[in-house]
């Protein structure tokens, strides 16, 4: 990214608009590429049942990616979202089922903790990487305290929602669409959404214009907490039981999803639709594609890395041709 900043010629206005358009369609292209690969390897997978199965775990990943996206929009990074999802999962599989009021209070409280972290990071001007690194230990520890051994059970109403079978279009696709559109509208088409993104673009200007940067940061972190809670709850709805380590891989997946979706680490340049598409790409590329390609288990992790690299390389090729 920096090399481009140094050597890249200044694009003309028309080509800049075109590059921006193409850039916005890249996440969709990446996803299409993976779907086509799957269709080519196993045509039977492209069906209502096939997609329901393959995208089973995509919804919690998409929600965690959206949570990470809100944090990245404000030029911060959340290294704790994975263990937070695990903590929420443990609470969902135990207290939310047995004593719903207490469980709901704890989950709301944890969103409050996220908001407080935002305030702390802003007021003390702390590096979010370190604060959330510390919090990742805290959530993990709390998850182990809530559920020392894997177990618990998802509340029935939650399993019912996640197991909903709409006609024609599989539930994960419907859910992904709803998540993407709701967040897209909220962040890209409302005035306060523009302020939220602006805090990543030019916080000093926002501050001079009279907006409270503290409030913006608290809002972004609270939204991240909210979507983290939704991610953990849907995850438990799907897997039906809890485990303190269930969400650990989500931290890096969520960051990768945001970047695959066309987001950038600085400057408030994020895309909710892209982030959801990025999460779906990662979820599909992770196991279904690899199983169809008959990749031995030893090399599945590597194949994940290679797919990530190939998709990003394709992105570079397309944007370079455009520029």
């Amino acid at each position: 990214m920096t090399d481009v900043a140094i050597r890249g010629p200044l694009p003309r206005a028309g080509s800049a608009a075109r590059a921006r358009m193409l850039r916005a369609t890249l996440p969709a292209l990446s996803l299409a590429l993976v779907v086509i690969a799957i269709a080519w390897l196993n045509p039977r997978a492209i069906s209502y049942f096939g997609f329901s199965l393959m995208l089973n775990l995509a919804i919690p990943i998409a929600l965690a990616t959206i949570a990470q996206m809100f944090v990245i929009a404000g030029n911060e990074l959340d290294l704790s979202i994975g263990t937070f999802v695990g903590f929420v999962g443990c609470v969902t599989a135990t207290w939310l089922r047995e004593t719903p009021l207490l469980g709901a209070a704890i989950l709301l409280g944890s969103i409050g903790v996220y908001a407080l972290l935002g305030a702390l990071i802003h007021l003390r001007n702390l590096p979010s990487i370190v604060v959330t690194l510390g919090m990742s230990f805290v959530w993990q520890g709390l998850a182990i305290l809530v559920l020392p051994t894997p177990g618990g059970k998802a509340p029935e109403w939650l399993s019912a929602i996640v197991g909903f079978k709409p006609p024609f279009v599989p539930f994960p696709i419907v859910a992904a669409l709803v998540i993407a559109l709701v967040v897209h509208f909220g962040l890209m088409h409302t005035s306060y959404g523009a302020i939220l993104r602006g805090s990543g673009g030019n916080p000093a200007a926002l501050g001079r214009a009279g907006w409270s940067l503290l409030r913006v940061k608290v809002t972004l972190f609270a939204l991240a907490g909210l979507f983290g809670v939704l991610s953990g709850m849907t995850l438990i709805g799907i897997t039906t039981s809890g485990d303190a380590n269930i969400g650990n891989g989500y931290t890096l997946l969520a960051i990768a999803g945001v970047i695959l979706g066309g987001g950038e680490f600085v400057g408030g340049r994020v895309s909710p639709i892209g982030a959801v598409l990025g999460a779906l790409t990662l979820a599909l590329a992770a196991s279904p594609l690899l199983t169809f390609m008959r990749i031995p288990p030893d090399w599945q992790v590597a194949a994940n890395g290679i797919i990530l690299i190939v998709v990003l390389a394709a992105r570079v090729l397309i944007s370079r041709r455009e520029a």
Partner: protein, 315 residues
């Protein structure tokens, strides 16, 4: 008064204060029993955090988004390579170390190749690379039962007057790293890139070359750490480097290096590494459960960074 305030304004000093505080709390709890042994053990384990911490420090100093996430996979692979090449024989120690260093250097340069060729943020590049390295390690190192050569294992555990020799060597190494950072063209270039990459480029710094060197350095130190860990724990292991993902970042930042880049601190890495190791020892001594231990560790990391303050260095 001015001098005292200047000293207190240095966040890295707090990591040493924290380390001493934790140590005191533990020996008060045990009634003074094992005070010296605790320092010996802490120094032995802190060494491994310091070695990868130095590499991670140079990478993080390059600026926002620069971080080496491939260290755990790299350490695991290098530990297997070192043990295979040494093959339990004292005469092949140097060869095995060289192989581990070369393996780490290859991983580091591959990381930069990805960053440069794909122009993707280093976090994503090193993350993708770590997936691939991890798989290579699983396929190559699974069920590897080779013990380190006795001479090598003894060296990693050797102590003089209760101080691990490895810690002394690492102190010399960190002094070298501090000189490289503050007094040599390489270190000044890294700092310049971290402060403003475009200005550094305009001032004639060979940005690409310095970044390549930095990622290769971090990879090489990861390789070295893998070999030493395999010697210390008497065997290679795929998961031997797992804890060094978070701890390498934690020691760098608690040690006073700015996550925003352009400002680094070497002695702080020692303070932070000792602090983290002693903290774990303290919680183990108190006999708390794994969950409580994690919660307390996390809260203390957050507490330390809050107390030390971020200054102008926000990410």
């Amino acid at each position: 008064m001015e001098a005292i305030r200047d000293t207190l304004a240095r966040p890295w000093l707090w990591s040493f204060v924290g380390a001493i505080g934790v140590w005191l709390a533990t020996i008060i709890f045990t009634g003074g029993y094992g005070a010296g042994g605790m320092i010996t053990a802490a120094l032995s384990l802190a060494v491994f955090m310091v070695i990868v911490g130095v590499g991670q420090m140079f990478v993080i100093t390059l600026g926002p988004g620069n971080v080496d996430l491939s260290l755990p996979a790299n350490i695991g692979l290098a530990s297997a390579v070192a043990m295979t090449v040494m093959n339990g024989s004292d005469s092949r120690i140097a060869l095995g170390l060289a192989a581990a260093l070369a393996c780490g250097a290859a991983v580091g340069s591959a990381n930069y190749l990805l960053i440069w060729a794909l122009r993707i943020p280093p976090i994503i590049a090193t993350l993708s690379a770590s997936f691939i390295i991890h798989s290579i390690d699983i396929a190559y190192g699974r069920g590897l039962q080779i013990k380190p050569p006795p001479g090598f294992a003894d060296f990693t555990n050797l102590r003089v007057l209760g101080i691990p020799v490895l810690a002394l060597v690492t102190v010399l190494f960190t002094i070298g790293a501090a000189i490289a950072l503050n007094r040599m063209v390489y270190g000044r270039s890294v700092l310049a890139i971290g402060q403003n990459i475009r200005a550094a480029w305009l001032a004639g710094v060979n940005v690409g070359w310095i970044r390549f060197l930095t990622y290769t350095l971090s990879g090489t130190l990861g390789g070295l750490n893998g070999a030493l860990l395999a010697g210390y724990f008497r065997g290679a292991n795929v998961d031997i480097g797992n804890e060094y993902l978070l701890s390498s970042i934690a020691v760098v930042v608690i040690g006073g290096t700015s996550v925003a880049g352009g400002k680094a601190n070497v002695p702080g890495i020692w303070g932070a590494a000792l602090f983290l190791v002693l903290l774990l020892t303290m919680l183990n001594t108190f006999g708390v459960s794994a969950g409580v231990r994690l919660v307390v560790t996390g809260l203390i990391i957050v507490g330390v960074i809050t107390a030390a303050g971020g200054g102008k260095a926000g990410r």
